[in-house]
Subunit: 221 residues, 2 copies
DNA sequence: CAGCATCCGCTTTGATACTG
DNA sequence: CAGTATCAAAGCGGATGCTG
């Protein structure tokens, strides 16, 4: 990106991470850890191959990511965040929080990856009955199942099928996420194709954290 | 900006504020309050007029800013952040914090505006002697003086000349900011043209807050 | 196949000029 | 003051080809 040529911390940050695709590359590495070139392409649908190569070079030069050779049996290049790159996590978290109200808008062509959604869930949901026995919920959305586990009042997520979940939510990503994040009423979610199995009490204990500001924020026409 | 077409909160945020210049427009409105078109142009040196008009339209459409007519004697259009736009402040703050280490790099052509620097100062400096009597420091950098005032352990800033400052710092923006932010040693600052008047003890009480992580973060060649 | 580099048409941006 | 108009240059997207 061409520099803004401003002696301003915000502009200098954007000189480094303000390019198209750049923060999404950082997102992939932050959410999935060290990645191969191919993994990155999979997590960034639509990126041109030359652009990915360019951005990786720029990020490496800026000290945000580092290249390393994977241990012997694998023999491939891995890209990972440096400590400096790790310090972009608060920024990514802010972007998740600010973008949550927009999760009510899923366009037909939107790509879906489970790891994108898991991070939004961890950041905004809490277990409102921290003292009750832990529960697990399986979400069947995206490219692979997401498992929610209550842990001391917070919600943790991991990818892959759950052993014996206390409940499962299945359906299109938008209404499932909308329901969980408190952006959609249960009736609306059901009307949009969300199917629920398991103990109904489970969903009542999982809800948006108090600080999840949700003024719907629909843009005025 | 062309949409990323991803069902991901980060990507959806960037669909709205990821365009070139967009976050800098939000910065201007966040730091200076409601602005006229002309004020924005002044705070965004180098932006093309048509781009500013485009971005303002897009931001208005996204519900981030609103247009309003100034009260009678003025008769001009003002742009201001909506509540939704105000919620971008944490993002801007994170960009400031992440970009601070880059403030050691001032390129010859870099534009300087005092209000950009004042925000960085408020975000990272603390008064380490909160119980001592308040002091004021005047910085002569940028397009107008910046006044630092200690208040209960924190540092507040305002623009314009100070009445009778306890100290003044004068010189090129980079070494003055570097000195204050703890990125430059006093001797290096002096060698780079920083002049100091007033009680030397004043500078000792003003320093980076403990959470201001400053691993120098210089990119590797 | 992983990790790029090249080419080309299209879109966005930058610089400047002009207008109600 | 608050924009619009114009056009060249830069950036991006998509396809393809190359190299280990």
């Amino acid at each position: 990106m061409r520099s803004y040529d401003e002696y301003c911390a915000i502009a200098k940050s954007l000189d480094v991470v303000g390019d198209r695709w750049t923060l999404l590359i950082v997102r992939e590495l932050a959410l999935r850890g060290a990645c191969r070139y191919t993994d990155l392409r999979n997590g960034l649908p639509g990126i041109a191959s030359n652009l990915l190569a360019d951005r990786l070079r720029e990020l490496e030069h800026a000290g945000v990511i580092a290249r390393e050779d994977a241990p012997p049996p694998i023999a491939t290049t891995l890209f990972r965040l440096t400590p400096r790159g790790e310090r972009l996590r608060p920024l990514l978290d802010d972007l998740v929080r600010w973008g949550l109200p927009l999760m009510t808008e899923q366009k037909p062509g939107d790509a879906v990856r489970s790891h994108w959604l898991a991070s939004a869930i961890e950041l905004t949901l809490r277990d409102q009955q921290p003292d009750a026995s832990p529960v697990t919920v399986e979400l069947n959305i995206g490219d692979q199942p997401i498992v929610l586990e209550t842990r001391g009042g917070t919600i943790h997520t991991r990818l892959g099928p759950a052993d014996s979940p206390d409940a499962t939510l299945t359906g299109p990503p938008m209404p499932v996420m909308g329901l969980l994040l408190g952006l959609l009423q249960p009736a609306d979610a059901r009307a949009n194709g969300v199917e629920y199995t398991g103990a109904t009490a489970v969903l009542d204990r999982i809800g948006p954290a108090v600080d999840a500001e949700m003024p719907l924020a629909a843009p005025p026409s």
